[in-house]
């Protein structure tokens, strides 16, 4: 099992050097993703899930910087690569799809051009072969009449079609690892289901590892094999999806699951988590969830709970787990 690890993130730390002082957006995050596996990362807005993904791609913009840790892709530490080698990795072995299909494609270039560009960058092919590859990818993701769509501009496609085109582009160079950053958030529920199914099918077909980021627990339970719950830039809990949903151990995970509206029942009010996420520069020195936690202890305030393995494959960072 160990040698099939494709991605291994070790103690990743990303900070933003703002005027109010450095802010750790990602703090000591570690996880592995195996071949063909989907890891779901859940958390509220600002919990560091997107920053984690961008750190993996090394696309953190100024004033942010990756300040520590390792990102091993098939055993190679991406954080040590020179920028030119990293460009080979981006869009090649490792690809990413984004939240907003409306704005993630360049409005003044045709869909075909944008896919060709990536194929030509990473594969030794002629422009004609690149074009064939692009059309093949467009039909693979279920876009009807791909030869015509190839010549279309993004605004001529619907949201769902654009996200399909995004996926076609991301997968055009056979990545081993795909990062999906809330790819269905901006779409209608029906389109959302189609896109999730498409990602799952393609993943099985190409035996890709996927890191799927969302704040939607429903989506996570559908698509991922394992789940990582993040809060305040830190890991709370990670476990197999079934285990996590049936047997959450971190109070935050439990609260998240409890606040999902349940089908069939119409409670007077939805369950919520009291309080709000502290601003990144106001994080307490101990557990980031301290001020909202129903099970807090005194030590939680001053000391950060270490990540401990409760049972094989189930890790929790909590002094007082459920």
């Amino acid at each position: 099992m160990q040698d099939s690890v494709v991605v291994s993130v070790r103690n990743l730390e990303t900070s933003f050097f703002t005027k109010m002082g450095p802010v750790r957006a990602v703090n000591d995050v570690s996880y592995d993703i195996h071949r063909g596996e989907t890891l779901g990362i859940v958390g509220e807005s600002g919990c560091g899930k997107s920053v984690t993904s961008f750190s993996l791609m090394r696309l953190i913009e100024h004033p942010g910087r990756i300040t520590g840790g390792q990102v091993l892709l098939q055993g190679r530490d991406l954080l040590q690569l020179p920028e030119a080698r990293m460009e080979d990795v981006r869009g090649g072995e490792m690809a990413m799809i984004f939240q907003e299909p409306m704005t993630a494609l360049n409005p003044v270039l045709t869909i075909g051009h944008q896919i060709d560009e990536q194929v030509l960058r990473h594969k030794k092919v002629t422009p004609k072969e690149a074009r064939e590859r692009s059309i093949e990818m467009l039909s693979l993701v279920g876009i009807p009449s791909p030869e015509e769509r190839y010549h279309n501009y993004p605004h001529q496609l619907s949201g769902g079609m654009r996200q399909r085109a995004m996926i076609a582009m991301a997968l055009s160079c056979d990545p081993v690892f795909l990062i999906a950053d809330e790819p269905t958030t901006a779409l209608d529920v029906t389109i959302q289901a189609q896109i999730l199914e498409l990602i799952q099918n393609l993943q099985q077909k190409f035996r890709m590892s996927v890191q799927f980021i969302t704040h939607d627990l429903g989506v996570i339970s559908e698509i991922s094999d394992r789940v990582l719950v993040m809060y305040g830039g830190q890991m709370c809990e990670t476990a197999d999806t079934v285990e996590l949903f049936n047997n959450p151990r971190h109070p935050y995970t439990a609260a998240l699951i409890a606040s999902r509206p349940k089908f069939g029942s119409r409670p007077h009010r939805l369950t919520t988590i009291e309080g709000s996420v502290p601003a990144p520069h106001e994080l307490p020195p101990g557990c980031p969830f301290y001020n909202r936690c129903p099970r807090r202890l005194d030590e939680c305030r001053v000391q950060r709970p270490p990540v401990s393995t409760i049972k094989p494959g189930h890790q929790v960072a909590c002094f007082n787990p459920l």
Binding site: L59, R90, G91, F98, L105, N106, Q118, H122, M166, M169
Partner: protein, 323 residues
């Protein structure tokens, strides 16, 4: 697309016609007429002469009738006769217009090239050292009055250093020389006026290019382009600049008429044989024919450049269609 252009050209012509009538009427309202100039320069003139001259030049008729006459002759290709220079307007303005056009186009191309490049560079690191330096430079350029700048350029580069001629359009007696010698000679005389006109424009273009670029660089598709593994240069020029170009097109197109009118001052400072000074003189001297023609040229230029900008939009931005 073609019908669109045709329709726009027709609209433009209508606007020019309407505006020419308005301006003609306004000029008729100005105090004085050419005959008064003649009275002033000829003490022996009699009252009958004055009436006869007024009749001869049609100045006794109402403005709308004179306008109709003017339109009649101009539509036959006859631009009229300059009363102050005593030559046909065409002959007077033709070569000067060409000179001004050369000056304006050179200044515009130069300032677009430099301004946009510097603007893009400063957008890369807003607030950085390069950006701050260019900002000071561009604000200085925008704020310095062009006549002062022109004089300073003359003092430094022609009086002190002697690198460029202080004024004029070409060396006298160069007309017969081989074409490339004439070409370089004229280029030599152009350097300082072009500089003087450009420095202001560079500042403006730099600011616009900078903000357009900064706006585009924040957009999601730039991140997508980076995530595809494209190099920095390609992301910048192919993906970002291609989008930033869209707002810049209008600014560039409308600037040609700006530069054209800005040339009046520059031409005066460098005694460049352009149309700028002529326009000023003709209005002061009540030289209707010259003033009307130069007015029509400036108006048409603004309107035509607007049209050009709109057409270029269609090419730069696929989301705009004219069908």
């Amino acid at each position: 697309m073609l019908t669109y252009i045709l329709r726009r050209v027709l609209q433009t012509l209508v606007v020019i016609a309407l505006l020419s009538y308005v301006v003609f009427t306004l000029m008729a309202l100005m105090p004085g007429d050419p005959v008064e100039m003649m009275i002033a320069s000829n003490p022996k003139i009699t009252a009958e002469d004055i009436v006869r001259l007024r009749e001869f030049y049609g100045l006794d008729q109402p403005a709308w009738k004179r306008y109709a006459n003017w339109v009649g002759t101009i539509s036959q290709g006859d631009l009229g006769y300059s009363r102050t220079y005593r030559v046909p307007v065409m002959e007077l303005m033709g070569p000067r217009l060409l000179n001004t056009l050369i000056l304006s186009v050179c200044a515009l191309s130069f300032s677009l090239l430099v301004g946009i490049t510097l603007g893009v560079l400063s957008a890369l690191k807003p607030g950085g050292r390069l950006d701050s330096f260019f900002s000071v430079f561009s604000f200085a350029g925008i704020s310095i009055p062009s006549f002062w700048l022109g004089i300073m350029l003359i003092i430094v580069f022609s009086v002190k250093l002697g690198w460029f001629p202080a004024g004029g359009t070409q060396t006298i007696g160069m007309e017969g020389a081989s074409w490339y010698r004439e070409f370089f000679d004229r280029g030599w005389y152009l350097v300082l006026p072009v500089m003087s006109l450009s420095i202001q424009q560079i500042g403006t273009f730099m600011r616009y290019a900078r903000s357009a670029m900064m706006e585009v660089l924040r957009l999601d598709f730039i991140r997508t382009a980076k995530a595809k593994g494209l190099s920095r240069g390609r992301v910048l020029w192919k993906h970002a600049f291609r989008n930033a170009l869209i707002p810049l097109i209008t600014i560039a197109a409308l600037s040609l008429s700006n530069v054209f009118s800005g040339a009046i001052l520059t031409e005066t400072v460098f005694s460049y044989q352009g149309v700028g000074k002529l326009v000023y003189d003709s209005i002061i001297a009540n030289d209707f024919n010259v003033a009307m023609v130069s007015f029509i040229i400036s108006v048409s230029m603004v309107l035509m450049m607007n049209l050009v900008a709109d057409i270029l939009y269609g090419f730069a931005d696929p989301r705009i269609s004219y069908s």
